[in-house]
């Protein structure tokens, strides 16, 4: 039964003509698709396992690192003030590199350039914790990514990737997350793919994870070759998705099934 339903859905998806962008008024966070139990897990800090990572991030913020022997706090003081609203503008254009970087990459640039420490590995506990701590300072603030005009060509690249069919299933992100977000796939809500709460705690992962991890899983799901962590394609997709979610409140650390 379940497989038959999936086929019916995917066939419908494949035959849909052109994707239309979701109007502002209809944009919905993944939160709104969740069961009351999962919502409750996100709503209360003591029940939200993502908060354990935020606590670790707070400790890392104060910890001196690298040959410069500096902590984040030595330059940025109190994150509750200095980092307020920062994550709501990421990914942001990095002048020295001439391209956008996401929050994780920004933190690692700080480590290498200012702390003279080695960068944290992608999806390492430290990088997720520090990113979650910084992003949590923007919780409740509207996403405002994409103001910088230098980002425009990269947003366009991300948009093109979002629309592009790929993989053995020959699906683009848009076929599910613009066209079919009100439907289900194997019992799970498809959702609009609005990245409002990253890094977030996924019940499936039983851990915090980054938007890049989620994108890679999605790409593997359509049976395409996932881009490696940190590849420009993933950052451009992140950038487009964040501009697509403009105005929606930051939820970090969110909880998702």
């Amino acid at each position: 039964m379940r497989i038959a339903a999936c086929i019916a859905l995917l066939t419908a998806v494949a035959s849909t003509a052109l994707a239309a962008e979701i109007p502002q008024a209809e944009r919905r966070s993944g939160y709104s698709f969740m069961s009351p139990d999962t919502k409750a897990m996100q709503d209360e800090d003591t029940a939200n396992p993502g908060m354990l990572f935020v606590l670790d991030g707070e400790a890392l913020w104060q910890r001196k690192a690298g040959t410069a022997n500096k902590a984040c706090a030595d330059c940025h003081s109190d994150a509750r003030i200095s980092m307020k609203g920062v994550a709501a503008h990421y990914p942001a254009f990095e002048k020295a590199l001439g391209k956008p970087v996401d929050l994780e990459a920004r933190i690692n640039l700080c480590r290498t350039n200012h702390q003279q420490a080695s960068p944290f590995a992608y999806e390492s506990h430290e990088l997720l914790a520090l990113t979650a701590y910084v992003a949590q300072q923007s919780r409740g603030m509207p996403i405002a990514t994409g103001d910088d005009p230098k980002l425009a060509p990269f947003v366009e690249k991300g948009h093109a990737l979002f629309m592009q069919r790929q993989g053995q299933l020959n699906l683009g992100c848009t076929n599910c997350h613009d066209d079919s977000w009100d439907k289900k796939l194997a019992g799970s809500a498809i959702t609009q793919g609005q990245p409002t709460g990253y890094p977030l705690y996924r019940l499936e992962w039983q851990s915090l994870g980054s938007l890049q991890r989620r994108l890679r899983a999605c790409i593997t799901g359509i049976r395409a070759q996932a881009y490696d962590y940190g590849k420009p394609e993933l950052v451009e997709l992140e950038l487009y998705l964040m501009t697509r979610a403009r105005g929606m409140p930051v939820e970090t650390p969110a909880v998702r099934p």
Partner: protein, 154 residues
């Protein structure tokens, strides 16, 4: 039209492949005998009656890795009459035990919550031991839906 059918066929293969992989990696289920033995280990030869225990668990869960569960027992919580312990079991995980929770009269309220893992759709049973050493139970059926796009475990 031919092209559309082609997509459908590939979808079938993809989904079937995913389901097969899940079956292979899942270790052997607890058997009904293992479940009975685990329960006997707690209650001994005592009779377990249905009642007094309430097991709150979503009938349909979004992910079996993290299932919220609350067990409460209708009982006075006085020095003379109280709930000693709550034991939770499952039918189809590799191991039948989920947790044992030891209370006492000063708990004031015989209620505990936690989050559990369920490898598959199955029954969950909660058993309470009262201060008079009687055992009471409740059972709930839980349907675990598969995530649409699961990642490789490791």
């Amino acid at each position: 039209m031919a092209n559309s059918n082609h997509t459908t066929r590939r979808t079938v293969l993809g989904l079937a492949g995913g389901a097969a992989a899940l079956v292979i990696v899942r270790p052997a289920d607890a058997t009904p005998a293992m479940l009975q033995a685990a329960i006997r280990n707690v209650v001994g030869e005592a009779n377990v009656r249905a009642g007094k225990v309430k097991l709150d668990i979503p009938p349909l869960v979004e992910n079996g890795n993290t299932v919220p569960m609350t067990v409460s027992v209708t009982s006075p919580m006085t020095a003379d009459e109280y709930v000693k312990s709550i034991h939770v079991f499952n039918e189809k995980n590799p191991q039948p035990n989920i947790g044992n929770f030891y209370l006492g009269p000063r708990a004031g309220r015989a209620q505990i919550s936690t989050r559990i893992r369920l490898a598959d759709s199955q029954k969950v049973t909660a058993i309470a031991r009262l201060s008079d050493d009687t055992f009471w139970s409740a059972t709930a059926d839980v349907v675990v839906t598969l995530a649409a796009c699961t990642e490789e475990a490791i």
